[in-house]
Amino acid sequence: MLKNAWNNPELERNIIYRLRPRNIILTSLLTVAFCGFVVIIVMMRRSNYDYSYDFSRDNGLNLFLFYVGTSLFFGYFYSYIAASRSVIGEKSRKTYDFLFMAPMSDTQVTIGKLLGSTIHMWFILGILTPFIAFAAVRSYASVSLAGFFVFYGILLSGCILAASIGLLLSSGLSPKSSFISSGSTIGLVIIAFVAFMMGFSSSDAGIISIFFPTAFIARYNQYSYDTSLTDFFGTPIDKGLLTIALYAWLSLWIIKAVIRRIRNPSGTYLNPWEALILFVGLGLFLLGIHWNKYIQESYEWDIISFSLIFNGIVIAVIMLLLTLNKESYLDYLRNRLMNRPVRFMSYQSPPHMLFFFLSIIFLLDIGGIMFSGISSWSFILAALLASWVMIAFLYSFCLLVQLAKTIFIYSGSLIAILVAGTGLSLPPIAIGVLNLPDKYNIYSNPVSYIIEMQNSYYVWSGFEYLALPFGLTVLMVAMLAVFAWRHYQLKGAVARRMKE
C-alpha cells in the first residue's frame, strides 16, 4: 500500500482536486463547530444529568468521546460519500475512458482514490488534534498518551474502511444506484438530525445508529472507544488494537475486491476461497473475544456477535441488491439458456443470488445458535426473530429502492432517493412525532431491534415487539410470490425470444 501511495499520480490528482475547492477547510471547521452544538443540545436535553457540575472522569470521558467521535464520524461520512462518488463520478463526468487508458495499475488507481477520499478526515483530525492532545497530556477524562495513539489508529483505520466500502459501491454499481445509495445516506443524516431535534432518542448511540447502513462502523467504533483491556484467546489485549485489526482485516478484503472491479465491471469481487478466508478471520476474531466465555461453563450467547456478522453481510447484500436490474438478470438467463459459461458472481444480484445469500445467513444463524450452548429458549427465539427482522427489513428496503427506481425512472434519481430515504426514516420520525414510549425505540432501525432483542424480556412482553417480525414475514411471503410469478413470466419471455 505504501509503495502504491508513494509517487501515485492518481492520489496526487485527487489531493489537488479535493483541496482546490477552498471550502474544504470551512466544511471541516463547520463540522467541528456543529458537533460542539450537538454536544450542547445533548447536555441540555439530559437535564436530569448536569454535566456542568459533574465532571467526574467517566462523564468527562463520555463527553470527550462523544464530541471527538461525532466530529470524526462526519469525517468517515465525508470519506464514504467522496469514495462512493469517485469511480461513478468519473463515468458520469466522462473522464473515465482517459483514466481507464492510463497505464497505472489497478492497485495504484484504487489506493489513489481511496486515500484521496479521506482528505476531509485528515482536516477534521488536524482541527481536533490540539483538543485531543491537550486531553491526553493533561490526562483529562482518563485519556492517556498511549490511548491517544490507539484512538488515532482506530479513527484512521475506520475511515479507510468507510472509504473502501464507498469505493466498492462506486466501482460495482450503476451510476443511478450509486447516486441513490450515497444520496440516501446524506438524506438519512439530515433526517436523523431532524428526528433527533424533534424528540427522538437523545442518546449519542441513538443518533449515530440511525445512519444506516454505516451503523456498523459507527456502533463498533463506539465500542472501540472503550480502551480497556479484553481477553483475546485468554491474553489481555487493548480493545482498540483489536478494533484496528478488525477494521484492517475488513478493509484488506474490500480493497482487494475494489482492485478487481475498478476497471473491470464484470470482474469477480472475491472468489469463494477468499470469501472463506475473510469469514474465517472474522470468526476467529469473535472466537478470540469470547474465548473465555466458550471455555467457561457460565457462557451465555452474545447476540451482539450476531449483529456484527449480520451488519458486515448486510452491507455486502445491500450493495448487491441495489444493483438488481432486469438487464443483468436477462443476461444471466440468456447465457444459461444458451449453455454458455456463466460466472455466478459477475451477475449483479439476480434474485436467486439474493435468496442464496439470505438462506446462508439464516442457516448460519440457526447453526450458530444450535452449537452455542444457549439454554434459554426465549433467547433462541429472540435471536431468530432478530435475524429474521434483519433479513426481512433488508429485503423490503431493497425492494423499496427498486420500486422507487422503477416508478420514478423518468423523474430522475432525486425522487427515488427521497422515497428510499423517507421510507427508511419513517420509523424513527414517527416515534419522535408520536412521542411513543421509549420501548418503541427498538423499531427505529433493524440494528437497534437486534441489539434490544438480546433482552429476552422483549419477546414475552407484548405483541408490539413481535408485530414487526410477523408483519414482515407476511410481507416477505407476498413479495416472494409476486417475484416468483414475475420470474416465471420473464423466463418464458426469454425462452420465447431465444427460440425466435
Binding site: P9, I16, R20, P21
Partner: protein
C-alpha cells in the same frame, strides 16, 4: 499493426458488431465511416481494450489487446466520442498527471513541446474549465500524444467544433501523421476524412461493408468511368453525337455539362476527346469525374440504424 478477427459484441438483445474482420497497416490513416448506430464506436472501443468482445479478438502488433492491457495502454492513444477533462486542473497540471501516469521521460520538456504543438502556450496556467471546446479538444489530443503512442484511435474528434477549430484539428492530425503514427479516425464530416485518410472502412449494422483506399472502393462501387464534358452548341444534337462514339454507353444532360458513362479503358479517354474535337465539337472542358467520399457514402445507400 491492427488486426480484428471475427470481432463480435452483443449488448443484451442488440448485436452491435458482428463478424468484423479488418487489417490496418502501420502508418495508415484509416477512416471509419458509417451511419449512427453502425457499430463504429463499439469497434473502436474493442480495438483499444475498453470493451471486451463477446467473441473474436483484436490484435495490435500481433498481440491480443486484452492479454496485456498495460502494454496496450502504453501503445495506444485514444480519444472517445464523448469525453471531458478534469476541469479543476490547470492545463499543465493535467498534462503532468498523464505524464506521470505514462512515466514519460524528460517530462517537463515533453509537456512544453506538446503545449506548443497544440498552440496552448498562452493557456498553460489556465484552468481547463475556462478553455473553449476547441482548446479542450486540442488538449485532449495533446494528452493522447504525450506518451508518443504508436497508434492513435480518435472517435469523432471534430464533433462539436466550429469550422476554424476543425481546420486547426486537421492541421494537427496532419502533423501527427507526418511522424509515421498509425491513426484510426471516425467522423461524420466525410470531406475531412477524404483529405486525411489513405484508407477507409464503411460500417453498417455492425458489419464492415467496404474497406480499402478511396480509389479502390470507388472502383468497386462505380466500375464505369464518368466523364464530364462542357461544349458549345445545341445540347440535344451534341448528346446524340456523343452517344455514337465508341465505348460510350450513356449520356446525361445536366445544367451546363454532359455526363458521359464510358466503359472503355482509362487510356482510351484521350482518343474519345480527339474524336469529339475531330467531329467539330467545341470542347471547353473535359475531365474524368471522381466521386467524393460523401457521394460514395450515399451511393452505398447506407441508412441510419433505427
Amino acid at each position: 499493426m491492427i488486426q480484428l478477427n471475427s470481432l463480435r459484441k452483443e449488448y443484451d438483445d442488440v448485436i452491435a458488431v458482428k463478424h468484423l474482420n479488418l487489417t490496418i497497416n502501420k502508418g495508415d490513416i484509416f477512416g471509419l465511416i458509417g451511419p449512427n448506430g453502425a457499430g463504429k464506436t463499439t469497434a473502436m472501443r474493442m480495438m483499444v481494450g475498453i470493451l471486451e468482445p463477446t467473441s473474436g479478438e483484436a490484435l495490435i502488433n500481433n498481440r491480443p489487446v486484452h492479454q496485456d492491457m498495460m502494454a496496450t495502454r502504453r501503445m495506444v492513444g485514444y480519444i472517445p466520442d464523448f469525453f471531458s477533462l478534469y476541469d479543476e486542473l490547470k492545463v499543465h497540471e493535467y498534462l503532468n498527471y498523464f505524464a506521470d501516469a505514462y512515466s514519460v521521460p524528460n517530462k517537463s520538456s515533453r509537456i512544453d513541446d506538446v503545449i506548443a504543438m497544440m498552440d496552448l502556450t498562452s493557456k498553460r496556467n489556465n484552468y481547463i474549465a475556462h478553455l473553449s471546446r476547441g482548446m479542450k479538444q486540442r488538449l485532449a489530443i495533446g494528452k493522447t500524444i504525450l506518451h508518443d503512442p504508436e497508434l492513435l484511435v480518435l472517435d469523432e474528434p471534430s464533433a462539436g467544433l466550429d469550422p476554424k477549430a476543425r481546420v486547426e484539428l486537421r492541421d494537427i492530425l496532419r502533423k501527427i501523421s507526418a511522424t509515421g503514427r498509425t491513426i484510426v479516425i471516425s467522423s461524420h464530416i466525410l470531406m475531412e476524412l477524404s483529405d486525411l485518410c489513405n484508407t477507409i472502412g464503411v460500417m453498417q449494422k455492425g458489419v464492415m461493408v467496404e474497406s480499402g483506399s478511396i480509389e479502390e472502393i470507388t472502383k468497386r462501387v462505380q466500375p464505369k468511368i464518368i466523364l464530364r464534358l462542357e461544349a458549345l452548341g445545341d445540347k440535344a444534337k451534341l448528346a446524340e453525337l456523343v452517344r455514337t462514339m465508341p465505348n460510350v454507353s450513356d449520356v446525361v444532360i445536366k445544367d451546363c455539362f454532359f455526363e458521359i458513362v464510358f466503359f472503355g479503358m482509362r487510356d482510351e479517354i484521350p482518343l474519345l476527346l480527339k474524336k469529339l474535337v475531330d467531329s467539330g465539337v467545341q470542347v471547353s472542358s473535359f475531365y474524368e469525374y471522381k466521386q467524393n467520399l460523401e457521394e460514395l457514402f450515399m451511393s452505398l445507400q447506407i441508412k441510419e440504424v433505427c
